[in-house]
């Protein structure tokens, strides 16, 4: 039987390395294709890793707690009789070294374990430590982020979460060997089945594995360097990639939320109906408005603007150590109640780190809502390759003047950040106008 290499899979668009939280199988366990081998912490979430080949888990090369670059060999599945010596030996000098090397870099100003000679205490010679690990941890290349969506079309073929991935045996093997995640690939075979050429295309467009761990500087006694968590490292890496190359412009509008507020109270008073949040109303309004303004539901792809026909909205969810944007798919086709239920489910699972990999990619637009923090208004940074993001402030009670004079009304500020390469100010403004109208005449959200 063939020897199956277990490699760190690419579980999300931006993922460059993953940390093994724990192995669910131990060396010597018999493995069937599809068994869950390990839990992996990626830059976005904790994800279960499946086995592609069958046999015995002969060797675990990256133990729990350590990090490996995607594509790096982390274990070997083979039959007991197979000779895996050469494979294991090659991993020791190659892929696995990247992960363990990063881990070995001193993270805190702790006294190093007694060095054989006192001549080189680690604190006084940080320089050699960094260059040694540098080749194993190259700086993330912008190309990795920009090219990833090409391999991950917005309309993910394997739509239903948890559904079996339809892929040919050969496609599965090549994916397992090259570290391509089949769940992120659209199949071109009969019935959307993933076949060899799909995996090969994905493999060549995805950037080669690059270790993400950033070498931490050795600290003095007056401060402490807290190592970046995966998620913080991802944010740190990705946000400049947005703000610098993506020319943002901002359009702000104030929305009268009185009717929407009232409608929401009425809906939430209905027995047996899901509770609707203000954000759910905003999601629904955006989904409808994006259908009429497809130019906003768009993304710059090299020399073309890709206009998406389906609306997949990323919903920013704050976590203790960062922020995550699970994707609510096909919002344009979902009634308000369904949006409410699914958005709540996504947010809860995001907080519990229980999102599936495919729920973290493929958004065509995003919404960030800081309403719960009593924020009047703010501007958000676009999450490439999306073309726009909407920042939602709190619903505030403010004095308003109407025909009858001075009164009290509920108002909410919306600010859209747009990629000027994809659209112009007027387009952003017209979109925002429609969102405003939908929220101010909220019965439109129900039809």
């Amino acid at each position: 039987m063939a020897v199956t290499k277990v490699v760190m899979p690419k579980l999300s668009d931006a993922m460059e390395s993953g940390k093994i939280i724990k192995w669910l199988k131990k060396e010597g366990d018999r493995i069937q294709g599809g068994d869950i081998l390990a839990e992996v912490e990626t830059d976005k979430a904790d994800v279960e890793m499946e086995a592609f080949g069958a046999g015995v888990l002969r060797k675990i090369l990256v133990p729990a707690g350590e990090t490996a670059a995607i594509g790096a060999l982390i274990g070997v599945i083979a039959e007991p009789g197979d000779d895996i010596g050469a494979l294991v030996a090659s991993a020791a000098v190659g892929g696995a070294g990247a992960g363990s090397g990063a881990q070995k870099t001193p993270l805190r100003a702790e006294p190093a374990p007694a060095p054989p000679t006192p001549a080189a205490p680690p604190a006084s010679s940080p320089a050699p430590a960094i260059p040694t690990s540098a080749p194993a941890a190259p700086v993330a290349r912008p190309a990795a982020v920009v090219s990833a969506p090409a391999a991950v079309p917005a309309g993910l073929g394997q739509g239903t979460p948890g559904a079996r991935v339809k892929a040919s045996p050969l496609a599965k093997k090549i994916a397992a060997q090259t570290g391509v995640d089949l769940r992120l690939i659209q199949g071109s075979g009969p019935g959307g089945r993933i076949i060899r050429r799909d995996v090969e295309a994905a493999g060549s467009s995805a950037a080669p594995a690059a270790a993400a761990a950033l070498p931490a500087a050795v600290a003095g006694a007056e401060f402490e360097d807290v190592p970046l968590t995966q998620i913080r490292a991802a944010i740190a890496r990705r946000m400049p990639l947005s703000k610098a190359p993506v020319p943002h412009f901002y359009v702000t509008s104030e929305v009268a939320m009185d009717q929407a507020w009232e409608l929401r109270e009425q809906l939430n008073a209905l027995e047996g109906q899901p509770k609707i949040s203000v954000n759910d109303l905003v999601i629904r309004a955006c989904a409808l408005a994006l259908l009429t303004h497809p130019g906003v539901n768009a993304s710059l792809q090299g020399d073309a603007i890709r206009v998406f026909h389906r609306v997949h909205i990323g919903i920013a969810v704050a976590l203790e150590d960062g922020l995550i944007t699970p994707v609510l798919r096909d919002c344009h086709a979902k009634p308000l109640a369904q949006i409410a239920v699914e958005a709540r489910d996504l947010a809860e699972r995001a907080r519990n780190r229980k999102l599936r990999a495919q729920e973290l990619s493929g958004a065509t637009f995003s919404i960030s809502n800081l309403g719960m923090y009593d924020v009047t208004e703010f501007s958000a940074i676009i999450n490439p390759p999306e073309g726009a993001i909407l920042a939602v402030g709190s619903v505030r009670r403010v004095p308003v003047v109407d025909e009858t004079g001075l009164g009290v009304g509920r108002r909410m500020m919306l600010t859209i950040s747009c990629d000027h390469r994809v659209m112009d100010g007027a387009m952003g403004a017209r979109f925002l106008q429609d969102v405003k109208r939908l929220l101010e005449e909220p019965l439109r959200l129900l039809v």
């Binding site: 039987m1 063939a2 040919s168 045996p169 050969l170 093997k173 060997q177 076949i195 060899r196």
Partner: protein
Amino acid sequence: MATHKFDVVVVGTGPGGYVSAIRCAQLGLSVATVEDDRPGGVCLNWGCIPTKALLRNAEVVTLLNHAADFGIRLSGFEASYPEAVQRSRRVADRMAKGVEFLFRKNKITLFPGRGTLKAKTVVEVKGTGAAETLEARAVVLATGSEPKSLPGVTIDEKTVISSNGAVRNERAPKSIAVIGAGAVGVEFADVFASYGVQVTLLEALPRVVPIEDEDVSKELSRTFTRRGITIKTGVKVAAVKPGGAGAVVDLGGEKLEVEQVLMAVGRAAKVTGLGLEGVGVQLERGFVKVSPTMETSVKGLYAIGDMAGAPLLAHKAMAEGVVAAEAIAGKSPRPVDYGNVPSCTYCRPQIASIGSTEARAKEAGREVSVGRFPFTANGKAVALGETDGFIKVIADKATGEILGVHIIGPEATEIIHEFAVGRTLEATLEEIIHTIHAHPTLSEAALEATLAALGQAIHI
């Protein structure tokens, strides 16, 4: 001149044309077909089917010759070659009638006569009666191919015959030189040798069945030689002249005196006299240039089968006919996968293959693992008394992808489809070995050859 309007006109009713016509009809299109011979084309009337009937005769004769091996003692028997030909004609007639029946069933109108393009999608039919004009939304050309000869050698279908003459031969010659050891050449060599004809098989390339895997060529040479067929490879025919009992084949030095010469040096697309130039159809190396949906350079005009390029195989023509029909009906058919067309030769032992040969896989830079299993180690083959040949499986070492399979031996042409399906589904060696193969069958050899590629063959 009467003018008729149809959605589709199919010119030529060989395996490509009639399948395309039926598929068009299934998709609700009104269809006319044009044929200047009998429906069924070369395949049903003069090629595949009648030769399979002759080869079956050859097989029966061979079995009778070996009756003693089974403990059956015959006090002589007479194998009449003319009756073998007559039987093959009955078989061909029956199949051709089958096509006419299918046309009626699918309400397809047959216009007997020769079709010529008058405009992009206008076909004029000249038959025995007045010419008729067929106007269509789309035209499918499926006029096939015809035997080629060597420069300076005229096929008279008497002394120098092509496959067309060979299937009509009313008696077997005493001796024959078969020029070309491709599928057609080795099949007729087999038929004639079985009927006691002295056969000399000539091939310009260094080995017989040169497109097949080298090991297959070796095995065929071995069995043919044992049967008394003279094989000369790497020889060039300088001239074929009348003389002696019939003809003298000049091999540039050696001269070969034979009663008949069979030209089996390949086939050429029939692309002349169809009016292709008039509408501006582009050709490429003698074949009509087509898109993946079989459309020619002229919109609405499709070409399929032998005239549209290699491989010149009936089943490839049928697959293309379906693609063309579905494209015309506005569907988006999956293009024909030319890398996965099985190739079958019905000599004894049979030859079947799919995918790359070992040499081509290695040329392509693949690191391969090769599994081989001989029929001598297969119980069913031994029971049948058909132990010549083997199955050879070539796989990618890293992934187990099945790159090619080459079979020579009993029912090779049936066994190959296990691998054809496997390759379509992108199965790897592992899926084949996890498929339980019934015992005792010839197909077990397929399993064993696959196991052998993984170093796990049980029965050898």
